[in-house]
Symmetry: C2
Subunit: 281 residues, 2 copies
Amino acid sequence: MTQIVAPTHPFDAAVELASEGGSPDAFRGHTSAAYANMVGPFGGITAATLLSAVQQHPDCLGDPLSLTVNYAGPIADGEFEIAAHPTRTNRSTQHWNIELIQDGVVITTATAVFGNRRDTWSSTEIAAPSAPAFDDVAAQAFPDFIAWARNYELRFVEGAVPNPEDDAAGSDLAQPSSTSTLWIRDNPPRPLDFPGLTALCDVFYPRAFLRLGRYLPAGTVSLTVYFHADAAMLAAQADDAVLGTARAQRFGNGYFDQSGEIWGRDGVLLATTHQLVYFKD
Amino acid sequence: MTQIVAPTHPFDAAVELASEGGSPDAFRGHTSAAYANMVGPFGGITAATLLSAVQQHPDCLGDPLSLTVNYAGPIADGEFEIAAHPTRTNRSTQHWNIELIQDGVVITTATAVFGNRRDTWSSTEIAAPSAPAFDDVAAQAFPDFIAWARNYELRFVEGAVPNPEDDAAGSDLAQPSSTSTLWIRDNPPRPLDFPGLTALCDVFYPRAFLRLGRYLPAGTVSLTVYFHADAAMLAAQADDAVLGTARAQRFGNGYFDQSGEIWGRDGVLLATTHQLVYFKD
């Protein structure tokens, strides 16, 4: 009898953590070449890994409500430690402090709020962006030096990433709007879970690239995710593509902010997300 | 000769902190009756106080870029301690962990990123909401039981707070949009600074009140502020009114998210802000 073992999805390998002996707060992980960015890992995989640490903590209560990750310095290739500590547990919510550490130095900090949800009045006040169906939009490859993007099928409806070859040819690719709207699916497909949704929130490349029509040094300083999906909504999503949209509000003095939305099957809003991004022009 | 001493503004009294001996990270403050909310203090004054602690820290680098405050439990009237610790200092940015503690229990946690700004390409991509001039909009009093609102002159252009007397009369005050746009000025006027701007970001009452047309239990779980203003922009603002606007994206399962903007003189975007809010319907 041949036993068929499904290979581990690269995403699951990237966010995998081992518990450290001694404290329930301590975990050990390692960076994944598959999710490398230009400098260090893709910020979304780091955020997903920090969230996973909380989910694996023996005292974890409920599901994620919000997450804020502050990228304090570049993560070096290799091993890292995560310390995830519940600072306060209430009846239905729990607050977390999380740190990613390499060689004793804090590289990334985060806070998260988890909780149990209750059934209440609901209303989605914003509308999903209009977009042709997933199958009717062509996939776009990111430049080869952005490794993490190969783990996603990215089908841009508007605001595709500038093509560096066009840039080199001297064309002016600057755009008046920083909005990108795109279908996104893990490649290979993967059922959506909270770490997967977290990573999707950082899939929008820096808005300054789009406005200025060229690549420039840029990196997320602080990322916030508000989770609107509960576990049942994630299960209903299965491994379908999601529709993401993001835009900037203000660029200036070396920083800009960017807000995004992740929409699921049947027009369900799964998450809203915001970030402050450093850039050098 | 009579010496005239300007009285301390209630805002400055509310955010006042004393350094504790022993550690540069330790501060002591106290709640202010003038900024009380229905349960505990106005979340904006707490956020402003946490930011002030960082600004008063001897190692503080530059000006605030982002702040995230997680409200883990109600702050009791009286004294509190603040611990503000620089987790990482880079060449131009600095990351902070901040906690507010009462009787040894963590009540509020926060992270902040501070930094030195550089001159770069700038663009404000969003537009300020259209509104009549400050002098052409009537001031609206908040219900008496919301003490903190007496420290602000609030002139609603749209989305004013429901009047509980109308609510008691059985009128249906529910609204299809959660947008509020209003002029806001400290009362008495006060020159804008970073703590003042932080507090303004929480001046929008819970959007669920507006949609459902009634008061209900609600409280901010997590608040994020992205500072677009630098010190020169704040100085130019002086004590003018600012124009604020906020709306919700999604209500459901006991929580909603709310995004806002604070606009200053000459249409300058001073801050963008987001929060996740608990509600019970």
